[in-house]
Symmetry: C2
Subunit: 239 residues, 2 copies
DNA sequence: AGCCTAACGGCACTCAGTGCCGCTAGCAAG
DNA sequence: CTTGCTAGCGGCACTGAGTGCCGTTAGGCT
């Protein structure tokens, strides 16, 4: 270590909204690198701030807590999900819409694989970070549940609240399962197809009743390909 | 405030295992009362320890963290669930067994209603405690998933891991939904019946495939009479 | 009585998180 | 160019959670 000046920016980077996002990303990147290199607990907020060339106090202007820096993009994902729901065709099956919305989470993980893998390694090792991730998942699970409840209530479902909560939990669980499997494999393989198969299981289980009193029974072997399953169920629903 | 001696126990309460449990309960009770009276953040660990007549350092010998004191009995519940699974009849439907096991959570909430209501009020208002509760739920959800996965693998299910995770999430969500509704009503009403109804929805959705190679997917309205369901399913199975 | 162990209390320390204040870069109006 | 004005930053000081260490003491055992 030479005596470091470490005061980089000639122009104030956080002065403009674009600069704010830039510094936010820089802080997050610095934090992840330090966590991966030295461990989470061993890395202090001072270290992160110094690595990003800012003061410790500034870090807390960009993140409420040390562990928030690992889930920096989560708020944006939730916002995108809300938009997706607002723009969704009301005629579509609510569970399918919800599954499509959580696909945004998959996209965001795939968009920054390096971050995703490092974060995955951390959440598996550090208990407090695992809890934080669980809480993060719970947040968008609640968004799912709120959407589903509204749709079920539109359909006159008496148990809309319960069904929505259960379906949202199932969707989130399926999503997490696919995500973890994919991350364990180092981010290789077709995550979209895997997700579609997992969601099919949930969709089949929680498809909302069509019309008022329709009863649909479909019989399938386990070997039935997915598209066949969907086709058969849809066929049965119509007939 | 008079000059308080506040050193109560003539006999060392924590010296014996029975005494340890006693002090643990005393600390938890003191903490909950203080949280309810003054708020969670406003209550320091010093306050809790002083109220229980012990030193601050002792508190951390009984609980790893301040928020752990609110979920003191959680470990015991998880242990009971594991026992329940170990003793369960393998012939029973795994999802039903799992639902019965989470019933233990309901029991523990009903067993100490005062604690449950105060904790509920806290988890609704304090974000960090809500996250802590979510993490707590996730822990027994994992226990459920592990049991279900083993049972599904016994049945030769290829997607045992996924199905187990999804079913566990659904069961936990149903349980939480019933629990929260009950707590919101102040702990009045028949929680067991409500839970049974909620679990019925999950069991219907995730019933394991009967027989060897037949998978039956049924989508039904809640209003469908049972004999009709049976007839339709049998009909579908035959042809 | 004398030891041995387990639990407690207190002290000191690190670090997360917060409030406060002074500073400065940039912008706008004169 | 100068004079405010504002937004963001750095630093300081403080609280409180959580931890390591050590001296002390109660209770059991021989």
């Amino acid at each position: 270590m030479t005596d470091s000046p470490r005061r980089a920016p000639a122009t104030r980077v956080g002065a403009t909204p674009a600069g704010r996002r830039q510094l936010r990303r820089a802080l997050a990147a610095a934090a992840v690198d330090l966590f991966a290199a030295n461990g989470y607990e061993a890395t202090t907020v001072d270290d992160i701030a110094a690595a990003a060339g800012v003061g410790r106090r500034t870090f807390f202007r960009y993140f409420d807590a040390k562990d928030d820096v690992l889930f920096a993009n989560h708020d944006e994902i939730v916002a995108e999900m809300e938009e997706e729901f607002a723009a969704a065709d009301p005629a579509r099956d609510p569970v399918e819409v919800a599954c499509a919305a959580v696909g945004l989470v998959l996209d965001s993980y795939a968009a920054d694989l390096d971050l995703s893998l490092k974060r995955f390694a951390l959440t598996r090792t550090v208990p407090s970070l695992r809890d934080k991730e669980v809480a993060t998942v719970d947040r968008y699970q609640r968004v799912l549940a709120r959407y589903l409840q509204a749709r079920y209530e539109d359909q006159g479902d008496e148990t809309a609240s319960l069904r929505a909560a259960v379906a949202a939990a199932a969707i989130a669980a399926a999503n997490n399962h696919v995500l973890r499997r994919w991350l364990r494999a180092g981010g290789t393989g077709d995550i979209k197809t895997a997700a579609a198969e997992a969601f099919a299981l949930v969709v089949d289980a929680f498809r909302a009743p069509r019309g008022d009193e329709a009863t649909v029974v479909a019989v399938l072997t386990t070997a039935t390909p997915l598209h066949e399953v969907v086709a058969r169920v849809g066929e049965a629903l119509r007939g």
